[in-house]
Amino acid sequence: MTGGDDAGSTARYRAEPGSRATAAERSADREGVADDDATGAAGSTDTVVAVEGLSKRFGSGPEATTAVDDVSLSVERGAIVGLLGPNGAGKTTLVKSILGMVLPDEGSVHIDGIDARERPRAAYSRVDALLEGARNDYWRLTVRENLRYFATISGVDPDSVQARHDRLLERLDLADHADVAVRELSRGMKQKVSLASVLAGGADVVFLDEPTLGLDVESARTLQTELRRLAADEGLTVVLSSHNMDVVETVCDRVVIMSEGRIIADDTVEALLGGSDTHEIHITSADFDDDLLASLREQFALAAVERRDPGARIEATVDSDGLYALMATLHANDVTLDRVRTVEPDLEDVFVDITNGGQRR
């Protein structure tokens, strides 16, 4: 059977005492394997996912599309990394290429130091994924049956992780529905079952595509708390792809932004927020007259002009140079500033700024 050797070696590895006890122990366990398999890119003991020069094209000839273009990326153990990008940016292809669901044309992927191309079954033995737009589990089975099934196929005897399943069900508010067929649950509950089944086997690395889709506000918020807790306490590494900027901003340590198959920004959330050179400023003054407002409209990108009596209130989105120029213009026209308010950019602003041309990497 294909992969039989790999499955066997995985089983032997998994049999090592305490191999799942703590993140530190897991890390120590892997060092021996990493010595054999790691390349320079994956050599760091803290790097759990290492991607080097990954490219994937679909089609051939002039109509070929480059979905992922020479992407290199590393994810540290216990980190929560957000993957953002507009539709068609290559996020899903990148994630599926890392997971082996799509075979890349070029590049390498190492999981915990193991080359995913050479030893896929061993490399992915500690990885699971929740993919958007898919059921991900079996709706005709109960919640608990799903957990047991997916623990087994991920290489773990389900009886031995029964306590883990009980705690997962408790934490995700699924305990009361443990013996209910998934098809009978609401959409949000189904999403939580998918997440629970991903965590059922004790994966070290999980890829979550739109994990909060269908969840109500409270469930989404507490899911974020749970993810942070799993990363901090259990050493779980999460790569999270979402269009929900609030989730990414709240949960992720680091954000990778993709556009047209390339990574165009890769930094901590704080650095991205602090590094934005876009300033939204609201200025109210009684000295704004028609001529000055017309002049300002010509020179600056005014998002809004609200007439007041006397004067007006303007909203401008400018970079640093633009801000200096705006202030100089107002100063030159003897404008007294009645009220000035700056609006702090959030991740969505940064995302729009970067994907519209700014580059941070």
Partner: protein, 277 residues
């Protein structure tokens, strides 16, 4: 979610947990148990299959009796055995090929691909479960057919199970291949279901007159099953060559089906359409 998750309760998910590695036996247990649960929880599918099969047999029997009269009743035993094998074949083929299509649609096939076991052993075990399930439903169909037509056949259980089982293993291989092709070309799945009507030709192939037809799926097994159920030939009374050929054909078609499935899923991964339904 529970308060424990919010107040930072001190219970780690894995506190006191010592995971043991799952073996292929554990995998088999889970896959077979899952198939069993679905079978007993949702009996409508099985009952529906039985009713439809009996409906068509009723049409064949009563319609044929009106048209052909005694000519039909003279060959009734052969028709019943052939129909029994056909229901077995269709059950095994469609359940495995449709099942693979469903796994693609649900996104669960993708999850299997990156597990230590992969999808192939899961699919093989599902195939075993489908065989058992199909045997149960086809046994009901056989019993009703015999009662309806007031016909007596010999049913040496061991011989019938082994011969019919090995016969439909080759069909299972075809189901694997069809499932693999469905993974690659999603729209083709329904058309491949038409292949099950080709099984009628294979089952009625004159296996002992044209030697090469023995190499086709079902044909040789169908001939042996006729001998077992009509003439009363027992398993150990068949020649070694006959039994060897039965096993060989089953193994070759199952192997070919498995290879086609593997190649198709690999190509689907290269094209990025593994889970793209």
């Amino acid at each position: 979610m529970s308060d424990a998750s919010l107040d930072g309760g001190d219970t780690s998910l894995d506190a006191g947990v010592t995971p043991r590695p799952a073996t292929y036996a554990d995998l088999a247990k889970q896959v077979l148990y899952r198939e069993y649960l679905i079978f007993v929880r949702y009996p409508a599918n099985a009952v529906g299959g039985i009713v439809i099969s009996l409906f068509f047999f009723g049409l064949l029997f009563y319609g044929g009796e009106m048209v052909a009269g005694r000519a039909l009743t003279d060959s009734l035993e052969g028709i019943i055995v052939g129909y029994f094998l056909w229901t077995l074949s269709v059950g095994a083929y469609s359940s495995i090929s449709n099942d693979i299509g469903s796994e693609v649609q649900w996104g669960t096939l993708e999850r299997h691909v990156m597990t230590p076991f992969g999808f192939a052993p899961v699919a093989l075990l599902k195939g075993v479960a489908k065989l058992v399930r199909t045997f149960l439903t086809s046994a009901v169909i056989l019993a009703v057919m015999l009662a309806l037509t007031d016909t007596a056949l010999q049913v040496p259980v061991l011989t019938v199970v082994v011969v019919a089982g090995l016969s439909i293993v080759s069909v299972l291989g075809l189901g694997f291949a069809a499932g693999g092709i469905t993974v690659l070309y999603k729209q083709i799945g329904n058309w491949l279901n038409l292949l099950q009507f080709g099984f009628i030709v294979l089952i009625s192939a004159p296996a002992f007159d044209l030697g090469w037809t023995r190499l086709l799926p079902l044909a040789h097994g169908s001939a042996l099953l006729q001998r077992a159920m009509i003439d009363g030939t027992r398993l150990w009374e068949f020649g070694l060559l006959d039994l060897g050929l039965l096993v060989g054909v089953a193994a070759v078609y199952l192997g070919l089906g498995y290879v086609v499935f593997e190649l198709a899923t690999r190509r689907a991964r290269r094209l990025g359409v593994l889970g793209d339904y």
